[in-house]
Amino acid sequence: MMDIWHYEFFTRAITAGAICGITCPLVGVFLVARRFSFLADALAHVSLTGVALGLLLGIAPGVTTIAAVLAAAFAVEWLRAKQRFYADALLAVVMAGGLALGIIIVSKSRGFGADLAGYLFGSLLTITPTDLYLIAGLAVLVVAVILFLYRSLFALALDEEYARSAGFQTPVVNAAFMFVAALTVAMAIRAVGVLLAGALVVIPVLIAVRVNKSFRGTVITAAAAGTALVLGGLHLSYACDLPPGPAVVVLGIAVLVGVALLREVAELRSGGSKSHEKGVRGCT
């Protein structure tokens, strides 16, 4: 198993995966807390339009993807905050629109089916040194913004109306968050692909929520879980000859189900002992 570390492509894949594994859940924590987790999926589908445009126009797809995802993220925030659309319905429309536009562009231009498959399902193992530098740069920016706005983002996630009334600069904070969410989704697409990016953003957070009592603990656990899942998924992919993106996601779901079951068992056991204690106290 250790032989694979000798391959440069695998070292790059592991490094890029670990970076995405830390960054995606950092954004995901605030998305899940705000009941906005579907945003990652919606933006990922919009990225398909960006990828198709890039391939069609001969521009680096990474650039057009980031542009498309950023435009969609700001449009979503404007429609949510100013036009007061239902968030879930809005995201469903954005997702369908992004996918539809991408398919139209693909149908009008023949010859990049193979390239597109990499974006749909992720291609960690084909990451170039340039990709790695880009991912690392984006991750530094995302983590810096999240750390800087951490307390404001937490206040907004908890109760946006209270945050507005208390003088938090909600439009600025929301815009900055949408910016980093869009960058994160663009990164996640490179790791696990358009169809699975949402999972990398959300699954580690759901695992962390099951085992934490504090918000800070949830953030740290989610980042650790994200990294562990990507590394574990890549090894699983190598060992069982599976595509890397889906291997990461399937492993994540298995861990989530395992954690949920363990917690259920622990609660049943502690509930039993509590009622037993109560009964003993009642008798005496």
Binding site: A33, A155, L158, E161, F168, V209, K213, S214, F215, T218
Partner: protein, 270 residues
């Protein structure tokens, strides 16, 4: 929390001035020609039936809505230009969102302090001290590191007040914040607010349906039904039947207004 000297109370400057405010959602007029002044040290209850515009009035003061006509002055500054929002604490009606995601009592109360210090500063030693003081004032020190989802409704309401107090506000606005509490919890909740008002000079404005619970504690009552129909001491509001007229039904409170008085007033207003 900042305390005010006796001299400051005597001068009793206006913290909030509402002048000729109208507000509506589209064609639906919710508030008409509201004129109200809230002075430092006031302990005021805003009463009225459902849809009377009570919560809307609070949200106008908080800057969550903009008035269609008229002016709201906060600490002498026109509302839309007022930047020191932390000077007005807010306790919303629903604290349900508190328990839905892991967060400790300390973390939630600390967000109140963040509102005061802004984006650019981290929590310093003094800020942590203020958070501790807010927790202590509400009797929450023991629960500081407990997940808020594990607390009772009454405890969560105290967390919401502690969050507001951590910003050291000069006015505290509460929107039916005692709803869902049992009689004992409600009494202790209003008692706590009365203590903050009496001992620390905190100006308190609470929106409530429950005149019985607050009549013995508040200094002033504002009865609202799209416009202000009464403003004055609670006793006067209860005795002259304004409340029965407002709710279009007999309102009687043991020891304050008897049944006969309430019924008679309601009948005469129909």
């Amino acid at each position: 929390m900042r305390s005010y000297s006796r001299e400051e109370h005597l001068t009793a400057e206006h913290l909030i001035r509402i002048k000729g405010v109208d507000f509506g959602f589209g064609r639906n007029r919710v508030l008409e020609n509201i004129n109200l002044e809230i002075r430092r040290g006031d302990f005021l209850a805003v009463l009225g039936p459902n849809g009377a515009g009570k919560t809307t009035l609070l949200k106008l003061i908080l800057g969550l809505y903009q008035p269609g006509a008229g002016v709201i002055e906060l600490f002498g500054v026109e509302g839309s230009r007022f930047r020191e929002r932390h000077r007005i604490g807010y306790v919303p009606q629903k604290t349900g969102a508190f328990g839905e995601f892991p967060a400790t009592v300390w973390e939630i109360v600390a967000t109140g302090r963040t509102a005061r210090i802004g984006l650019w500063r981290g929590l310093g030693v003094e800020d942590r001290e203020k958070i501790r003081a807010a927790l202590s004032a509400l009797g929450l020190e023991e629960l500081a590191h407990r997940p808020v989802g594990a607390l009772s409704g009454g405890q969560r309401q105290r967390v919401a007040i502690a969050r507001a107090l951590a910003a050291e506000p000069e006015v505290l606005l509460l929107d039916e914040a005692a709803e869902g509490l049992d009689a004992a919890g409600e009494d202790s909740f209003y008692g706590l607010l009365e203590r903050f008002n009496r001992e620390q000079g905190l100006t308190v404005v609470l929106v409530t349906h429950d005149i019985g619970a607050v009549s013995r504690r508040v200094k002033k009552v504002v009865c609202l039904n799209r416009c202000i129909v009464f403003e004055g001491p609670p006793q006067e509001c209860l005795e002259n039947g304004k409340l029965s007229a407002l709710y279009r039904m007999p309102v009687y409170i043991p020891g304050v207004v008897n049944r006969r008085q309430g019924r008679r007033t309601a009948r005469s207003r129909r």
